[in-house]
């Protein structure tokens, strides 16, 4: 009741009469929450689209059996069908194809057992094709295919029309036998899916005798775990028997690095937002010091004052967070394509068709914003209650110097820094598999570091500013001297503004440095592995939206080597396998040949060790894999092959950034022996010395162009594309960084405005004794540039440290130890310019206010 009165009669006046300040504080929270909501929604959308696809494709299957990426023998199907308790077990082939005409739309091919599959999945066929559901007719014709109504309408395809598709076997013609209503599997990938009979699919996609998956439904009453065990017993090792949910989780794990780094930056954005709230509430307390004194004298208790400030913050934060949530939704709409693009570039092909709106994401992040605001407001609100009414009322100028520079702060700062170091040390010394090596831990270290440095900014300022007086006076004359003095006198409050800038600049610099380190390492690595002249594949090697890469038969290698100008051709195949529950990338190539012209980046072992790969059951693993599974050269690990588990000797450890979860290099002969897979994803072509690369490329295209659509990309072009792709994946990070800079800018405006308002009298006196208006503005602007420059300099130093932590904790965990820390000097220079420039801009309005101070009013004001 009291609180309601205070809010209505006191706080509301501030809202009505001090709009500018309020709007800026709200904008800060709003942007912070918006960033979190946008990132969360975009991430969720990508995940949801994966999950949806998996769910629609799964149908009623409760278990899914998968083997190696290249498929496993059909014979397994019968074994599973015979397991007691299995209701239905149906085979599935999943492949990708693309339409040959138009914009070469990519689609997913679902190869199924036409007679059995309706037990697991529901297909609803449109009325126009009512005569087709006869499965026998469908089966009888190998070129039968069902398209979705959605895609058919978009591509202008009618029933019974012939369509040409790019398959493993080259370009093939199919006849559209019917159209699927958007239900069940037909909803996957926004309708970019086609259904074929499994036998026809095996033929078209080079999987004769093999299937990709078995979908199993269980008899009622059967226990999930016992069934899993029973099935496991009839299958060779290396198969995974999972629930659809587990597959969703696998995707989540696959995307974890992406989600981690996005989580990291959105957390940092929130941290900066919190700083802004802290800043705003502290300043409000200072400005309303006298008001607090009066209220206390009139009989408002400490608790009431505390509650008043918290409730004000709560209301402001609630409104701002709500707006932020809305804004975040808009941001998410705008960026979801970008996120999907990043994910496609780096992980899995995805097309996000709609934004996965989730009240939980929106409200949860909004609530986080409110909670963070409240947390940030607690300290300054407490400081407000600590004022004794007698001293508050005296309206002496603010001097919290003692409290902010006091021992407690020093201790807190030292403790924070210590905590940062200790946490980091614990993180570094922990086993790779330990729970300590998580994003949360490394983030805690980074936040403690930021906190520690932020807390000691007033101290640093107090030390540094006096040193600059001479320079300031020399550069800016009297105004410079005065600005320096103001800064020094108000060290504690300006410290808060400096710390806010410090945080955002540190964030900016740290990710710039971390990203630049990753980029540099990636580029060096790509340079080391791509030494061929031309890369040949069926889809653009880096295309994401349009055509996928469809494998080619292995015997194309010999034919390609016969093309004029070609010196040699290397096959490259990639697949995934399941190692200890994790999806691991398997990269297959001709190791001996490759080593002749590529300087492999070996971190443990030697070239000779690498040469021991061909013909033996030996492999090489990348650092990420070695670290995660604690593997040294000489160890033996057991990998699942279609024919069962096989032990492989690890001969060396190399640098490879192709997969977050680990990569294994295997010689092509070894692979073919165990996997019985002759397919090739990419041919790497070396051109004879002295021959024109472009001519060789034309010759290759001319030789195979009739059979299949081929891309022959000069390696140089490929590298440029990779760089572009990498840069694209960091676009969001940069966007959030800029957002935090804006928030910090708002912080500067609020701080300066408050200090100008509070110094009304002082400015009046200065004006009264003959200071010109533009001199007053100059003082304020110089002051704000100084704040910005101090924040910038400290922020860059902090950013360099945090960037290193980020690299150690976030990236190194996935990439391995071979990433060296590269400082991005350009970004650091930009950060400094940005900090100073933004601060100068932020100082404009307060400067104008200061210049407009009415001398007479200012001097008569108490």
């Amino acid at each position: 009741m009291n609180l309601a009165n205070l809010l209505r009669h006191v706080s509301l006046k501030h809202v009505r009469l001090q709009k500018a300040q309020l709007v800026m504080a709200m904008a800060g929270i709003c942007l912070g929450v918006a960033a979190m909501v946008a990132i969360d929604l975009a991430n969720r959308s990508v995940l949801c689209s994966f999950e949806d696809s998996i769910n629609h494709i799964t149908g009623r299957a409760t278990l899914q059996i998968t083997g190696a990426e290249s498929g496993f023998p059909e014979a397994m199907l019968e074994r599973v069908q015979n397991v007691a308790g299995v209701e239905y077990a149906v085979p599935v082939i999943e492949a990708t194809a693309s339409l040959s005409g138009g914009r070469q739309r990519a689609l997913m091919i679902l190869g199924i057992d036409v007679l059995q599959d309706h037990q697991i999945r529901d297909y609803s066929i449109t009325d126009e094709s009512a005569d087709i559901p006869d499965p026998l007719l469908f089966l009888a014709r190998r070129d039968s295919i069902l398209l979705t109504r959605t895609m058919a309408a978009q591509e202008g395809i009618d029933i019974d029309q012939q369509i040409e598709m790019q398959t493993v076997a080259g370009l093939r013609t199919f006849q559209v036998r019917g159209l699927l209503n958007p239900a069940g599997p037909a909803r996957v990938a926004g309708g970019d899916i086609a259904v074929m009979d499994i036998y026809a699919a095996q033929m078209a996609f080079g999987k004769e005798g093999r299937i990709d998956r078995i979908d199993v439904s269980l008899l009622p009453g059967e226990n999930f775990d016992t069934m899993q065990e029973r099935i496991r017993q009839v299958l060779p090792a290396g198969y995974s028997i999972d629930t659809p949910a587990a597959r969703t989780r696998q995707v989540e794990v696959l995307l974890s690095r992406f989600r981690k780094s996005m989580g990291f930056i959105s957390c940092m954005a929130l941290f900066v937002g919190m700083y802004l709230i802290y800043n705003t509430v502290s300043i409000t307390v200072v400005q309303r010091r006298k008001e607090i004194g009066i209220l206390r004298a009139l009989g408002a208790s400490r608790a009431e004052i505390f509650r008043l400030f918290l409730t004000e913050t709560l209301l402001i934060a609630a409104v701002a967070s709500l707006l932020g949530a809305g804004l975040g939704y808009i941001f998410a709409r705008a960026t979801v394509d970008l996120v999907a693009q990043s994910v496609s570039d780096m992980y899995l092909r995805t097309s996000v068709t709609e934004l996965a709106f989730s009240w939980r994401a929106v409200l949860g992040n909004g609530a986080t914003g409110v909670l963070a605001s409240l947390t940030a407001a607690i300290l300054p609100a407490l400081a407000g209650t600590r004022l004794t009414p007698a001293s508050a009322i005296r309206s002496l100028p603010y001097s919290a110097e003692s409290s902010l520079l006091g021992r407690k702060i020093k201790i807190a700062s030292a403790l924070s820094l210590l905590a940062a170091v200790v946490i980091f040390a614990v993180f570094e010394s922990a086993e790779p598999a330990s729970a300590v090596r998580s994003l949360g831990v490394i983030m805690a270290s980074a936040i403690f570091l930021l906190l520690g440095i932020s807390l000691c900014t007033p101290l640093l300022l107090r030390r540094i500013v006096p040193l600059c007086h001479g320079a300031l006076a020399a550069c800016f004359g009297a105004q410079g001297r005065l600005a320096g003095l103001n800064l020094q006198k108000n060290v504690s409050r300006n410290g808060v503004a400096v710390a806010a800038i410090l945080c955002s600049i540190a964030l900016f610099v740290s990710s710039a440095n971390a990203i630049s380190s990753v980029r540099r390492s990636m580029f060096d690595w790509i340079d080391s592995i791509i030494r061929a002249d031309i890369l040949v594949s069926t889809g653009h090697p880096l295309a994401t939206g349009g055509s996928p890469t469809i494998p080619m038969p292995g015997d194309m290698q010999q034919e390609m080597e016969k093309v004029a100008g070609v010196l040699s051709v290397e096959p490259f195949r990639k697949g995934y396998l399941n190692y200890e529950g994790k999806k691991v990338l398997l990269e297959i190539f001709d190791v001996a040949r490759r080593l002749e012209y590529c300087p492999a980046m070996i971190t443990q072992g030697s070239r000779e060790d690498m040469l021991r790969l061909p013909g033996r059951d030996n492999i090489v693993v990348n650092e990420g894999f070695a670290v995660k599974h604690a593997i040294k050269p000489g160890d033996t690990i057991v990998l699942p092959t279609p024919a069962g588990p096989v032990p492989f000797g690890v001969t060396a450890i190399v640098v490879s950034y192709t997969s977050d979860s680990g990569a294994i290099w295997m010689d092509v002969t070894t692979y073919r022996r165990h996997w019985q897979d002759q397919l090739v994803d990419t041919f790497e072509v070396l051109v004879q010395p002295g021959r024109d690369i472009a001519a060789a490329r034309e010759a290759i295209l001319a030789r195979f162009g009739g059979e299949r659509r081929l891309f022959a990309l000069p390696a140089a072009e490929f590298k440029v594309e990779v760089q572009k792709m990498l840069d694209r994946s960091f676009v969001l990070t940069n966007a959030v960084n800029i957002l935090t800079l804006i928030i910090a800018g708002l912080g500067i405006i609020i701080t300066l405005l408050a200090s100008v308002l509070e110094r009304t009298r002082e400015i009046g006196i200065l004006r009264g004794i003959g200071m010109q208006k533009n001199q007053v503005s100059a003082v304020v602007i110089i002051e704000s540039i100084l704040i910005g420059a101090a924040g910038g300099a400290l922020g860059i130093a902090t950013g360099v440290l945090i960037g290193w932590i980020e690299l150690e904790g976030v990236f190194r965990l996935d990439f391995g130890a071979s990433i060296t820390y590269h400082l991005h000097y350009g970004a650091m220079a930009w950060a400094m310019l940005l900090a100073a420039g933004l601060s100068a801009m932020a100082g404009l309005y307060p400067a104008q206010r200061a210049a407009a101070t009415n001398i007479v009013e200012a001097l008569t004001y108490e």
Binding site: E291, A297, G299
Partner: protein, 229 residues
């Protein structure tokens, strides 16, 4: 009404101890108009702050209406301030954003009364101090004398046992000051106990009793009353 027993106040100023008040004992009776005089630094304001519960003594005892002000919690002290004491300050101390009426009603608003109930009482008091027409004005639109009248109305609104005034005319010219004193005097004539701190002898002369302070202790206690020498 108000009683001080050996009340003392010591401040810690850095490493130095400052004794602002030492062993002050006296009683203020109901209906008195007490002026407290003394040079700057003699502890006048500290004494007033102790009597009004803005501050607590570091030694000794302070009672208002036989209730102790020492050794009670901040919240209890706050309640006494809110309900039993009316404060008038040199710098008026009105909230700049609130209208005159809202400023006057603030102590009742703090007590949780709805504004609809507070408003007529505030209006009546503003009428009493001669500012009926100024109810909707904010402090910046009022003259110094008017601001102090608003502050007096605010001090009166809870019907306090005592009004404590700290240099109420320190910022006003002689004529305006006289008007304020006449207002206070008339309140005193109606039975309102008033304690006023001042270093202006003209102001002190309105009191029925004058206590002068010297170096944190009472020097003289002059009761004037009606008996002329």
């Amino acid at each position: 009404m108000i009683e001080l027993r050996n009340a003392g106040k010591t401040y810690q100023q850095g490493s130095r101890e400052v004794r602002a008040l030492r062993d002050v004992s006296f009683v203020i009776n109901k209906g008195e108009f007490l002026s407290i005089m003394g040079p700057s630094g003699s502890g006048k304001s500290t004494l007033l702050n102790l009597m009004g519960g803005l501050d607590q003594p570091t030694s000794g005892e302070v009672f208002i209406d036989s209730r102790p002000l020492h050794g009670i919690t901040d919240n209890e002290l706050t309640l006494i301030r809110r309900r039993r004491v009316g404060y008038i300050f040199q710098f008026f101390n009105l909230l700049p954003l609130l209208t005159a009426e809202e400023n006057v009603g603030l102590p009742l608003l703090l007590d949780g009364l709805p504004f609809s109930e507070v408003k007529p009482r505030a209006a009546a008091l503003l009428d009493k101090v001669g500012l009926k027409e100024r109810a909707e004005h904010r402090p910046e639109q009022l003259s110094g004398g008017e601001m102090q009248r608003v502050a007096i109305a605010r001090a009166l609104i809870t019907g306090p046992a005592v009004i404590l005034a700290d240099e109420p005319t320190g910022n006003l010219d002689s004529h305006t000051s006289e008007e304020i004193f006449l207002l206070l005097k008339s309140l005193n004539d109606q039975g309102q106990t008033i304690v006023m701190v001042t270093h202006d002898p003209k102001a002190a002369a309105y009191g029925s009793r004058i206590i002068t302070l010297k170096d944190g202790a009472p020097d003289q206690d002059i009761v004037i009353g009606g008996d002329n020498p």
